[in-house]
């Protein structure tokens, strides 16, 4: 099959590339002057380049070939997550990593995009009977298993990301409203139960979000994030010149709180540009999903949309003090190789869907 470059979404690619460069620049600003973070910007740029190559490669590859690999992929997901849960070393607190020789790999990151493929194929193949309880239960089981393994690492954030991706894909797969309303009601009712079973640090984060005064030391970070954003004003303090970030009042500046760095150094304008760029990316992805040739392609893109959208909402929401503190990073911007590669693979899949969309042209 001939590559149809006219179908390739150059707006999506452009927005993605701008976000990548934006991210590398902000990681540079957030880490300058700190010896142990010195190589972060370069590494992020290298990951970006690798990601770009992957994106182009995958977009040339016909996504429909993936359908036959559904169950082997699922087996890889479960095996890698299980391995991390069992023998994987714990690094950086709550993240499961795999030492893949040279670099540390986070299977939880890659498992997201693999899960999207598996789940899209499952939902697509049962499209007509999606309202039937046995298929819904099957879907719940399919996403519950890897989510449980990630939760055991323990990594509540990525477990939730996986569940939200699954839920959004179910939503796009036209799950009847009855299930949606029922599931929403059930989760609201189950909230106290979930809360009671959470690990200590997770509880603390939620406690701090609900009542910042409960732990002044721990709420320091979120207070500093708000101060940083407020400090930015319209045009910001200038690149590399934010006092909050450069004097290290902001913690985890290169990842969790990178949005605050942007808002401080580049101001309202910079933050707005970032939000608009993310919306453009999501908007184009939705268009691709809408125009997908088949249900598998649509749901594949829906999963990628969920991946980007949920992480962006949680990360920005946390920086803005609207959501509790989690370790979830800002897509394309935050430092992190596994996360960036996962996102680029996702966008590559979406481009693959776009290039094979339903607008069959007359030759």
């Amino acid at each position: 099959m001939r590559l149809n470059l006219r179908r390739f979404d150059f707006v999506l690619l452009g927005a993605t590339l701008v976000l990548l460069v934006f991210g590398v620049a902000m990681v540079y600003s957030a880490t300058q002057g700190v010896e142990s973070y010195e190589d972060y910007p370069l590494r992020q740029a290298i990951y970006g380049l690798i990601g770009l190559l992957l994106l182009l490669l995958i977009s040339a590859f016909d996504y429909r070939l993936l359908t036959s690999l559904q169950w082997p992929i699922y087996a890889v997901v479960l095996a890698s997550l299980g391995a991390v849960a069992l023998v994987g070393q714990v690094r950086g607190g709550a993240s499961g990593w795999f030492d893949a020789g040279i670099v540390f790999v986070q299977p939880a990151e890659f498992s997201k995009v693999l899960f999207i493929i598996v789940f899209a194929q499952y939902l697509a193949s049962h499209h007509e009977q999606i309202g039937k309880p046995q298929w819904v239960l099957g879907a719940v089981a399919l996403m519950g298993l890897p989510a449980a393994l990630i939760y055991l690492q323990p990594d509540l954030g990525n477990a939730i990301v996986l569940l939200v991706i699954g839920a959004l894909m179910l939503f796009v797969a036209d799950l009847p409203w009855g299930y949606i309303v029922g599931a929403t009601a059930a989760s609201v009712l189950a909230l106290p139960l979930i809360y009671a079973n959470l690990e200590g640090y997770m509880k603390t984060r939620i406690d701090i979000f609900l009542d910042p005064a409960s732990d002044p030391d721990a709420s320091f970070n979120i207070a500093q994030a708000l101060i940083s954003i407020g400090n930015g004003g319209v045009l910001g303090k200038g690149f590399g010149a934010g006092s909050q970030s450069q004097l290290h009042f902001l913690r985890v500046r290169y990842a969790d709180f990178i949005f605050s760095v942007i808002a401080e150094e580049l101001g309202f304008v910079g933050a707005l540009v970032l939000i608009v760029l993310l919306i453009i990316v999501l908007w184009r992805l939705i268009t691709i999903a809408d125009q997908a040739r088949d249900q598998f392609g649509r749901l594949l893109v829906a999963g990628v949309i969920a991946l980007i959208m949920f992480q962006a909402i949680v990360s920005i929401g946390m920086n803005l003090g609207l959501l509790p503190v989690t370790g979830i990073t800002l897509p394309f911007i935050s430092y992190g190789g596994s996360s960036l590669l996962t996102l680029m693979i996702g966008v590559g899949l979406a481009q693959s869907v776009a290039m094979r969309n339903r607008k069959i042209e007359f030759d």
Binding site: L168, L226, I227, I229, G230, S243, L247, I279, G321
Partner: protein, 726 residues
């Protein structure tokens, strides 16, 4: 052909709506934070990073009269813990503090560790402190103690600071040397929360040599906190606690500035934003002291004390033309650098408990009977009041015997010698008397009998000066009042009067009291500085100056801020002839063959002086043979006789005889002074040309010396002097 296998999704439209909605919510929140609350948050961001810090103005330094630096400031380091940056975990904290202690101990192995004093220690300090020694700490405050916290104490302090929620540094080890500071700095990556704070401390370059003069600084004494605060001091400021550091506190004090700095999250300074107002160093002092002479005086006095097996002594030198103090040594002394670097409780206690009172400046704060050097006053008074003239001969042999004894009649049996009270001249113990002498001769041989008579009269034969006039002249010479020297803690001394005796002992003043006072004994007490000042007043022709220790106050650029002029206390109401006669008497004491100070020679310089051997009673010092009281040795002198430029006083506590003990010290000082001032010239120049002062004295002493020789040569056995007592 158009294939439509998949219809557009309504659900995706809903998703678009959701994204737009959330985008709007985020932008709205962004607007709220950046614009609505922006001002407050920007203020908080500034509060995060800007600190207004006090910048200490350096304290002024001190120079001697030749520009030699005596006191300077040097940086010292406090090792402090910032509780908020330290590990929360108790065990980690302990490990950190133990590591720190190890580093400090390794690099300061030779220094004793100061444990926090217990209350029992504090009591012991109070009990051991005699009032005089406490007064030596100028304002009766506590000195700066050396701060060293043990690991347990440090943990307790850090916990307490954390509980207070305050960002207050806890001083783990105060004033460590730079080696220790560097050792800690090298390990700083392993010592989170440990910082070094630099504080300037005084460095007393001449240390013990000048500690009695210069004093030291320390924390504001509790009793004075209010007044210092009013003057703009902050509670942890250092102020002068003793010596010139106290007297010239105002001039020396630097003006603190304020500076705006930017700090990072750990409170470390990143850069200076601006000076709100700059700090300014304090002014410097140029002292009247000559450090070389001071050192020479200390050596001489130390030698003198060793020779006499004495422990306490004073030597002071002054320019009699101006009242400038050239040198002032009080032994034993102490090292004021101990106070500068923070004294340990043990070191402080040792100083306080030392019975010789090393913290006390004996030259101005301790009182002693002046003894025979006081005869200057009695002779001046008698001459001025016309009780005697220069030819009046008094003394021994009115009863037909030359034995050095005269009697004060019993007032009820005036004619019965058995009831009369005998008064002895010092020479009585040698089995003879001075016969009859004029005032010049009396000063030269220190004839007690003569001074008894001119002050208290003698039977019906001679009307004396009388106690009231004697008291007047005593006071005129500056006894009984502070000299006003620029040092804290000066003692005014005691001039006894009939009224004083009545009110103190309920006893009537007797003729014997006047006799005793005439030779500087009895209840009369003075400081060595008063004795020197009286001598200097005779030396310069009758002007009593306030002794001064500071010539100039200069700013850091060397501009003179204040120049100290000679300050006249009073011109003595003495006729020039009277002063001349007394001066001649003092010349004779040194230069006549029978003068008590005839052992003194200073090559090329004519010296006048007076020895003294003053009896005293101290229950702790045993009596001498035949129940004789122990004696202090005195010597005062001025030179060159013709135009004096230096006057000295030497005092040795329980030293014995003035001529044997104090005089050699004075001689060494005078020789040293003239050697320094007129150093030997290169060999090409003939020695006779190098020595400037004339050798021969003025006319009248020559006549005197002749008559003295005729009179006394065969009656005076030795040069030794022992004062007669009651």
């Amino acid at each position: 052909m158009l294939s439509r296998p998949l219809p557009p999704s309504g659900r995706l439209v809903i998703l678009r709506g959701l994204i737009v909605l959330i985008g709007i919510v985020f932008v709205a929140q962004l607007i709220r934070i950046q614009f609505v609350e922006g001002q407050g948050l920007r203020a908080r961001a500034d509060a995060n990073r800007f600190r207004l810090v006090e910048v200490r103005g350096q304290r002024g330094v001190m120079y001697d009269r030749n520009g030699q630096l005596l006191v300077r400031n040097r940086p010292s380091f406090d090792i402090v813990a910032i509780p908020s940056n330290m590990p929360d975990d108790e065990e980690e904290l302990r490990a950190l503090l133990e590591r720190l202690e190890q580093i400090i101990d390794e690099s300061e192995a030779d220094l004793p560790v100061h444990q926090q004093e217990t209350s029992a220690d504090a009591d012991a300090v109070d009990d051991a402190a005699p009032e005089d020694a406490a007064a030596a700490i100028g304002q009766q405050g506590q000195p700066e103690f050396r701060q060293r916290l043990s690991v347990d104490e440090a943990i307790a302090e850090v916990d307490a600071a954390m509980a207070g929620g305050a960002y207050l540094p806890v001083v783990i080890a105060g004033r460590v040397n730079s080696e220790t500071a560097f050792a800690v700095a090298e390990e700083s990556h392993n010592l989170p929360g440990i910082q070094l704070s630099i504080a300037p401390v005084r460095e007393y370059l001449t240390g013990p040599l000048t500690s009695q003069l210069i004093g030291f600084v320390g924390p504001i004494p509790e009793a004075y906190v209010a007044s210092y605060t009013e003057a703009g001091y902050r509670p942890n400021d250092q102020v002068g606690l003793a010596g010139l550091e106290t007297t010239f506190e105002k001039a020396l004090r630097g003006r603190d500035g304020r500076r705006n700095i930017e700090v990072d999250v750990n409170g470390r300074e990143v850069r200076t934003v601006g000076d709100i107002f700059p700090s300014a160093p304090g002014n410097n002092l140029v002292l009247t002291i000559d450090a070389q002479l001071q050192a020479l005086m200390e050596t001489a006095l130390t030698r003198g004390l060793e020779a006499a097996k004495a422990q306490v002594g004073v030597a002071i030198a002054m320019d009699p033309r101006t009242g400038e103090v050239l040198g002032m040594v009080s032994l034993p002394t102490y090292d004021n650098n101990l106070f500068a670097r923070g004294i340990t409780a043990a070191e402080y206690q040792t100083l306080l408990e030392d019975k010789r009172l090393p913290l006390l400046n004996h030259a101005i704060s301790a009182l002693y009977p002046p003894g025979s050097v006081f005869k200057i006053v009695a002779s001046s008074g008698a001459l001025q009041e016309g009780v005697i003239d220069e030819n009046t001969r008094l003394g021994d042999s009115f009863d037909g015997r030359v034995d050095g004894i005269i009697y004060v009649d019993n007032r009820f049996f005036p004619d019965d010698l058995r009831y009369a009270q005998p008064f002895y001249c010092w020479i009585h113990s040698y089995g003879t008397g001075h016969y009859r002498v004029t005032v010049r001769e009396a000063l030269a041989v220190s004839c007690d009998t003569f001074f008894y008579q001119i002050s208290g009269g003698y039977r019906k034969t001679f009307e004396g000066l009388g106690i009231d006039k004697l008291v007047d002249y005593t006071r005129i010479f500056g006894f009984g009042e502070p000299t006003g020297v620029d040092l804290p803690g000066e003692n005014p001394g005691l001039v006894p009067t009939p009224r004083w005796k009545r009110l103190t002992y309920a006893e009537t003043w007797s003729a014997g009291d006047t006799y005793n006072m005439s030779i500087g004994q009895g209840a009369l007490l003075s400081t060595p500085m008063q004795v020197l000042n009286a001598t200097a007043a005779i030396a310069n022709g009758g002007a009593l100056y306030r002794p001064q220790l500071v010539r100039q106050i200069v700013d850091t650029e060397g501009n003179v801020v204040e120049e100290f002029e000679p300050e006249l206390i009073r011109n003595l109401p003495l006729d020039p002839e009277v002063v001349d006669i007394v001066r001649e008497g003092l010349w004779a004491a040194v230069n006549s063959p029978n003068g008590t100070a005839k052992a003194l020679t200073v090559p090329g310089v004519t010296v006048a002086g007076k020895t003294g051997t003053a009896e005293f009673f101290d229950p702790e010092i045993p009596l001498k043979a035949n129940d004789r009281l122990p004696t202090h040795a005195w010597f005062t002198a001025f030179a060159p006789y013709e135009d004096p430029e230096i006057a000295i006083a030497v005092f040795v506590y329980n030293g014995g005889e003035g001529s044997a003990v104090a005089l050699p010290v004075g001689q060494e000082i005078l020789r040293g002074y003239f050697n320094l001032k007129y150093p030997p010239q290169p060999l090409e120049i003939a020695p006779s040309e190098t020595i400037t002062p004339a050798i021969s004295p003025a006319g009248s002493p020559e006549l005197l010396s002749g008559s003295l020789e005729a009179l006394i040569t065969d009656t005076l056995p030795l040069s030794d002097t022992v004062e007669g007592g009651e």
